[in-house]
Symmetry: C2
Subunit: 207 residues, 2 copies
Amino acid sequence: MVPKKEPAERRGRGRPQSFERETALCAAMRLFWDRGYEGTSFDDLIATMGISASSFYNAFGSKEALYHEAIETYMSVAGGWFLDILNENIDTITAFRKLTTTAAMEFTRDDQPSGCMISVAATQCSPGQSRLRDLLASQRTQAEGAMAERLRVGMSAGDLPENTDIDALAAFYGSLLRGMAVQARDGASRDRLLEIARIGMRAWPAI
Amino acid sequence: MVPKKEPAERRGRGRPQSFERETALCAAMRLFWDRGYEGTSFDDLIATMGISASSFYNAFGSKEALYHEAIETYMSVAGGWFLDILNENIDTITAFRKLTTTAAMEFTRDDQPSGCMISVAATQCSPGQSRLRDLLASQRTQAEGAMAERLRVGMSAGDLPENTDIDALAAFYGSLLRGMAVQARDGASRDRLLEIARIGMRAWPAI
DNA sequence: GGATTTATGGAGCGATGGTACCAAAAAAAG
DNA sequence: CTTTTTTTGGTACCATCGCTCCATAAATCC
């Protein structure tokens, strides 16, 4: 195969990679996102990434290691809107309104797999995948923790009643988002998800 | 192996089955519930069911056919509370309050796998399993349809405002229940789920 | 008892899964 | 050009997966 032109960057010695690592990683992420870890076969991976088995192991180490990288990529890129919104300098209720409506929009983009890569992954899996299950569960717990943190800030700012059960409220919105992810996977429309988000905001505690 | 005593019932001729079909089916259901379809291996199945490969195929036909039966069993037994509550002759808001709180209870029973067998199944799977994916998605849609139907009855009875978007409200509670199922799988406590259910009822439309 | 029917045990099969290995290729360094 | 370093292509490997086949066992029917 004709190697691609060198990517401007200073290369070390040795034969240059014939593919862009980031592009291949992104392609793998989408496949994992769509099919999950166990549902994505090695052969499908290297076919989609456009590389050989040797190149795969040389560049990514193993299927599991690649999945870890895919998750990281998802969180910082495709799912970056989540933490971005929590960090915006806006009203707490505005932040959560934006969180739910943006989820509705992002979960139904036609240039990406539907739903969320993390929300519904590895909830049912073989015993051999318990490490992955724990990893995914931990990611979900972290996301919920971030929401709880934001709610705590809001409480300090007087955006929430003093007696609000912060952790329960975060768990509620966590549940809602995960359920919306399942709906999206099942083919629910953007409008339908937006309606769900709107109804979900009715549960916001009265000040 | 010593065959068990005949189960009172009139048998035809031929060697009698050495196991109770229903017991084996129930054991399979639990395994599928816990690990999903692809996460459950054939060997694990027959080991848990306590039967041989021959007996398995003789009695159930195939792994996929068994899964279908397991789903039916789940819906009529372990998940029967769902339709039962929708058919109870009670106030609409009472029915949905009972639906969400019962879900919280059922999803965290210590004598069963946590969560719901249907809610989060086959949302991510290999292309070869598209039939199962569609089946599960259809089950979820049906469950949501049953809730919508109940809401429509409630609307006729004056339990809901005239302008209520029934389908959206059903989708909201569908999302919430599915999200709760994920939470349960991730180890959320019964109290936590009950809190989520309580908060979810705040979204009920004001009369 | 013999014939018939159904279930069981056990061996094994073809396909696929993820991975390892090695000689060859393509670059930089000396 | 030679050496060194890294990537690549191809092949082969071993475990697992879902499933099949066949001889045998255990019941009923005549």
